[in-house]
Amino acid sequence: MMPLDSLTNASDEALLVLFANGDPKAAVVLTHRLGPRVFAYGFRLLGDRTEAEDVAQEAMLRLWKTAPDWRPGEAKITTWLFRVVSNLCIDRKRRYRNRPVSLEVGADPPDGADSVDETLQQKARSEALQAALLYLPDRQRQAVILRNIEDLANPEIASIMGISVEAVESLTARGKRALSKILNDQRDALGFENDR
């Protein structure tokens, strides 16, 4: 078994192979590296903390189970996980289609913010964006989050969503236009005049 420190620099794939070979420390590193990212993506898609935690746990469980069958070099583990989370979220949204849209707050204000005003404004921005994202159609929301928040490249997003790169570009463009409109309507209420 390798020491924990030496594992922190290992790639996701190497860690998954170690886990498949019975190394429990590899799971610790993978959980701390990928767990929060998987949760954040699920939360942005669903807007519900409890649901997002359930989805993240299920996605990681599937990763543990698939570890022995993982074929190195075929796909990035993060791409695979984002695809699993996307599918789980779509399933949940279909199941709870009639539920009211949640406007739950996800992020804490960042440490070291320059002033109370700035902290509050960042919190307001974060909440406003999350609320606006939930008004987008599912596919647009998914594409915008992956492109503009998770900062993934279009080919990787296309692989996650099972569509062409052109379709990704179209979805993100339409999604951003819709977001701009929603957020612009709220501009005065949220006090973002300073940005102009």
């Binding site: 429990p24 799971a27 939360f43 935690e53 022995p68 992020a107 921005r125 957020l183 973002f192």
Partner: protein, 128 residues
């Protein structure tokens, strides 16, 4: 700067905040994830360690109490032989019963233990 560029810039400010302040999961979530990992890992390393005990119903418990499948087979065989003898008894047995029930040799003090169970072999014994 066009209106479109300005809108893109403004939207990008929201995305920057979102990237810098990701929603954080509870600490309990990582505990749950690690518990799952350990269950999967243990099951793979030692498959029998986490095998759930087999659930048995009342009937199977009784069957196991009386000796399991061999005992059940033996009891079934004995029951079938009993039914078969009841339906189609051997000739010597019918003669014995008839003579005791209808004949003069029966009285209440006779013990069933005294019945000659080898009555059908009298010819053989008589012949030496």
């Amino acid at each position: 700067m066009t209106d479109k560029d300005q809108l893109d810039d403004e939207l990008e400010n929201f995305f920057v905040v979102a990237r810098n302040t990701p929603p954080k999961p509870s600490s309990a979530l990582s505990v749950r994830m690690l518990e799952d990992a350990e269950i999967v890992r243990t099951a793979r390393v030692n498959p029998s360690a986490l095998r759930r005990p087999e659930r048995r119903n009342v009937l199977s418990e009784i069957l196991w109490l009386i000796g399991g499948p061999p005992a059940v087979l033996a009891l079934s065989a004995a029951a079938l032989v009993g039914i078969w003898i009841g339906i189609s008894p051997p000739n010597y047995m019918a003669d014995q019963v008839q003579s005791y029930v209808q004949g003069s040799g029966y009285n209440e003090t006779d013990s069933f233990w005294a019945v000659d169970s080898l009555g059908g072999f009298t010819v053989l014994t008589a012949g030496g």
